[in-house]
Symmetry: C2
Subunit: 439 residues, 2 copies
Amino acid sequence: MRYLWPDYVYTPRGWQRDLLVALDEEGRIAGLQPRFAADGAVFPLPEGAVVEPLPGKALLPGFVNVHSHVFQRALRGLAQRPVSGHDTFWSWREAMYAEAQRLDPERLYTLARATYREMLAAGYTTVGEFHYVHHQPDGRPYPSPNLMAEALLQAARDAGIRLVILLAAYARNDFGQPALREQRRFCDPSVAAYLGRVEALRALGAAVGLAPHSVRAVPEDWLRAIAAYSRRERLPLHIHADEQPAEIESCLAACGCRPLELLARCEVLGPLTTVVHATHADQRELALLASSRTCVCLCPTTEGDLGDGIPPYRDFLAQGIPLAIGSDSNTRLDPFEELRWAEYTARLRYGERRVLVAGAAASPGPYLLACGCEHGAAALGVEGGRLEPGRLADLVAIDLEHPMLQGWTTENLLDSLFFGASAEVVRAVWVAGKQVYVR
Amino acid sequence: MRYLWPDYVYTPRGWQRDLLVALDEEGRIAGLQPRFAADGAVFPLPEGAVVEPLPGKALLPGFVNVHSHVFQRALRGLAQRPVSGHDTFWSWREAMYAEAQRLDPERLYTLARATYREMLAAGYTTVGEFHYVHHQPDGRPYPSPNLMAEALLQAARDAGIRLVILLAAYARNDFGQPALREQRRFCDPSVAAYLGRVEALRALGAAVGLAPHSVRAVPEDWLRAIAAYSRRERLPLHIHADEQPAEIESCLAACGCRPLELLARCEVLGPLTTVVHATHADQRELALLASSRTCVCLCPTTEGDLGDGIPPYRDFLAQGIPLAIGSDSNTRLDPFEELRWAEYTARLRYGERRVLVAGAAASPGPYLLACGCEHGAAALGVEGGRLEPGRLADLVAIDLEHPMLQGWTTENLLDSLFFGASAEVVRAVWVAGKQVYVR
């Protein structure tokens, strides 16, 4: 049995000093037990026990990156100029389509592997890859229809990160508008064809989820079929919604209702479902999210980069809607910065401090950690996100001696991390109990 | 003569490959010259020339931290809970006052030295220290009246950072309200006493500026006298204004005008003056800033932490108001993050991309660099902020091989830095031509 022995471990009861984290052969946490007895004597361990001390380190659950389009990493720093004279989300999309057209399995593999290594270095142990660049550039399937997805699976294996492939379904450009040239390689000819590829991926043993792109890209009958499949197979379902006003206007014009209302009508919302962004959700849509126990995935750095808006954080909290985080366009990879700016943009929106908290007297630290780890794990159907026996041993060691953390206390360490630090404090990362990264 | 030879140098003409940066004995840039002739031969150098190659590095001007209250570093992570049941800027202020009461010269020195080291590691080479904890806790001056300021000067010398002490003037709690108990150690009995301490500091050879705290804390006759001294002695003048609605309401009630209008009336605004925050400046106040050529210092991470609001970035740009940055409460020390979130919060406010740009076709990178370096140097009266002959050799070397920067091009490197990176890419820092930090 292997044991990790950091100075501190973050358990559901808070920071604990000198706890041993036992790791089993299946990549799970076998147990948490004290290193020392009350009298200071070392507790005896079983024969063959190996203890790895981690002096000056604090152990956290690994962060869960619920929403990523890994190929967009190639745009970092290169999509900050106007395209065709305008500067909105939609002009950024043109640069992104150009990059999508350039991809082939090898290029995708190389880019994904490097970016998944960057994610690990930042403290993300799991990524939900919202993958939509499926086919050849002219739209014809590859001889092996999941070749691009398999490149991602291989990249994740070689990088060492835990991957959930959220296979995107895409049918058209908008309500009543066929797919554009640049979208051909995203699209399947039918929902049956799409679900066939989902089944083929699952048959490879991959962790898979369903990802109808958005209400603009996917017709109602597809949405219903995909949602039914999600419920029957108990697989996560992820969908973009309410990120930009134009999407909402389009949906209202075509269907007479807003995107989340349409999703409720198609029985897409539910405890297996995550809505990405929900930036412009109105009161009725918020109530639908809450009553259906749907999760919302926030992408603060990408939402800032695209100027989407500051979502209704206060309403999310008040209505008990679980929140998770994602790096989305991968312009930044740092869960500490994502969570910090979720809270900061919330403060800027409401002109008050302490929006994302789990109780009247609490600081944001513990709630931000839940968003970064536990809620994310649930949104991807992964048994991680908490340091508890039975959970996956996906772990992050933080350097308590880093100058950024100088002045930390056990009472406030999470706040020091989220408000004072960057991913620079990450020292080592384990996935399924195996150390996959060390600084 | 010493020469630095990085792969790239950022000059006012953009990135240049294989340029030598010559450093003279006075801590200034003596010249910039090519390493190689057109035929590839190495240009001969004078006798005794020492060349330090910096392979894989890009050299930038050092970032200028225009606004810092260094002692507030002690609050990092510790001021995220409610105080007296409420959660606003004003409840944070209570935690800050408690910390201010605890300070003595030794504690201040220790905290300042460590925090100035953190600033250097983040790429800041100059700091404008807005210093107001002057006297003993009961308000009596120390036997040596500038003892606390001298602790800061020593801390900066020992850390290696360039320091401009912005000596704060403080007289009262609000219009018609005497100083609170906790403010006693901030206050001088008269503006003459305050200016006497300014003169004494200058006599020590320190770089000094004037810093009337705010319109609430400083009466009009003081403001006029301090502004006159600033103009006569050509020293920078910094003042907080328009950070929170309550300040504006108080000023309107007492004076019938808004803070920047009052400052204009007292002849405080001008090319030597920097207004810190200006978050809630209205159209008339913006016009006053623009016509007087006053600079504005933004503090995005602290403004986020305190929920101040998103300032009118678009108006700043449209009216040609120069912008600089400051770490303020020192909850975060990272010029890349400050500049990124200045632009991102601007995008969130306006729902558009590319707000902080210097031209119709430009990306934000060059303008953000100017905010981070050149405008900041001007705001502090320091001849730095640009890599040009004659300017101070305050420099930062960036690691071009860092995974965060993978994919960079010379055309877009600044965008890759500001949108994709953190201070983790800083490899070495020079102040006055001397290497003061290496990672």
